[in-house]
Symmetry: C2
DNA sequence: CGCGGCTTTGATGTTCATCAAGTAAAGTGG
DNA sequence: CCACTTTACTTGATGAACATCAAAGCCGCG
């Protein structure tokens, strides 16, 4: 069992303006007073599906997955989230319990903020309320359109989109350490692990990707992009 | 080309309390003053993908689909919405343009409400703001979990879920007129029309469903429910 | 009454899951 | 640090699920 540490303040958090830009000093102090900042190690489960939902999280560093476990103990991943994302903001106003489990894919620092303080701010600060509905729209757009687009693709296109997500959205590089296992990619796109591996081997043989242990290099970005759209 | 009529007031709208329950008389009059109530006939396109998004709609009667058309002119349906649903509430705060086209599946009455009035109410009425974020959470939950669940199923399960959606959520009956074509079901679950038809014929041969023209009767609800979960 | 869209069935090939078997890598306890 | 165990990765073979192509009947609508 790993140990969870509580770390120091985040007065100059670079993500402060993503959601809390319209708070005044007093309101910001209020949020700070009910905020817990935590760090989780790789592979830790932050929340279990069904846990009471009294707070939401935002990621400062690291990477997490939202997932459900079925009756056969098989996991199905809904989405992966990166620094700056607000985890379960979509759910806190309409759910009593976490609808998905949340686990880290690497060492992850989060801020946990209670629902009640957010609800109070929504009621009393109109501009904050507008920021919240805007952010909720952006989050749902991202999840929904990502799932919608992938539903039309076959396996090559689905795998290509996942790799491009890490390259473009997470690491902003064509050379990075893949933070998920082949099985997790399979759980994310609802395909078998074997066929995910086969597809990635194809990409390697076609000189689209190179592998070196967990490291991945995109050698033909244009073709990968094309596969993710048309494949 | 069909003609769109503007119809009368909706002071006693049964859906008023779904979203506008916390407005006072004055605020409600304001909403009324910027509201347009319209009726569309079957098959009309209410909004095209890319149209300017300055208002949202809520359905009083009827049925609509949200969809996109791809480069090959093939439609892909994101979701189907029934009376009481708030169409594009998820999108109005974060999108300048409609991300999906909206078309009617049957004669449909809608109320169209301008974004600006909604935004003003969010800023000035905290309880309304809470109602909006709660409603947005419910809408996104519905779309996301429906897509997430169906992604794990094969075609029998997917088709079964669609039929159960109409039976349970829309018509509250085991006997109804199917409001979509086989092709539209295919567009909704990303399968070929032929295989949707084959699956429905299987259900007929297995005495799970009966057909009579566009009418459909669910003869073995339990089995259909089971297929929608396990299939 | 004829045209176009919807529906249906069959035949064929592609895509994918599953089973099997083995290698490599990573964690675990002595 | 090494033996041991587990988990991740890989490839091949086989069959199931599904798309596609083709042909024909049906039905509503102008």
């Amino acid at each position: 069992m790993k140990i969870t540490h509580t770390i120091k303040a985040c007065e100059n958090c670079i993500f402060r303006n993503l959601l809390f830009g319209s708070l005044n000093q007093q309101e910001y102090r209020l949020v700070n007073s009910v905020r817990a900042e935590k760090v989780f190690f790789k592979g830790e489960i932050i929340k279990h599906e069904g846990d009471e939902l009294t707070s939401f999280l935002y990621l400062r560093t690291g990477l997490v997955k939202l997932y459900k476990t079925d009756h056969a103990q098989k996991d199905h991943i809904l989405s992966i989230h990166k620094p700056g994302d607000f985890i379960s903001l979509l759910h806190i106003f309409s759910n009593e319990f976490y609808p998905y489990s949340i686990a880290t894919l690497e060492k992850t620092e989060v801020c946990e903020v209670s629902i009640d303080s957010i609800k109070n701010l929504i009621k009393t600060n109109g501009n904050f309320a507008i920021d919240v509905v805007k952010r909720m729209g952006m989050i749902s757009d991202e999840v929904i359109s990502s799932r919608f687009d992938k539903a039309q693709l076959q396996i090559r296109g689905k795998v290509a989109s996942i790799i491009l997500y890490f390259a473009d959205q997470v690491y902003q590089s064509h050379h990075f350490k893949l933070p998920v296992t082949r099985r997790e990619i399979a759980e994310l796109i609802a395909m078998s692990t074997e066929n995910v591996i086969r597809t990635m081997s194809e990409f390697k043989n076609d000189n689209i990707l190179q592998f070196n242990g967990k490291e991945i290099i995109i050698s033909d970005y244009e073709r990968l992009l094309n596969i993710s759209k048309m494949g």
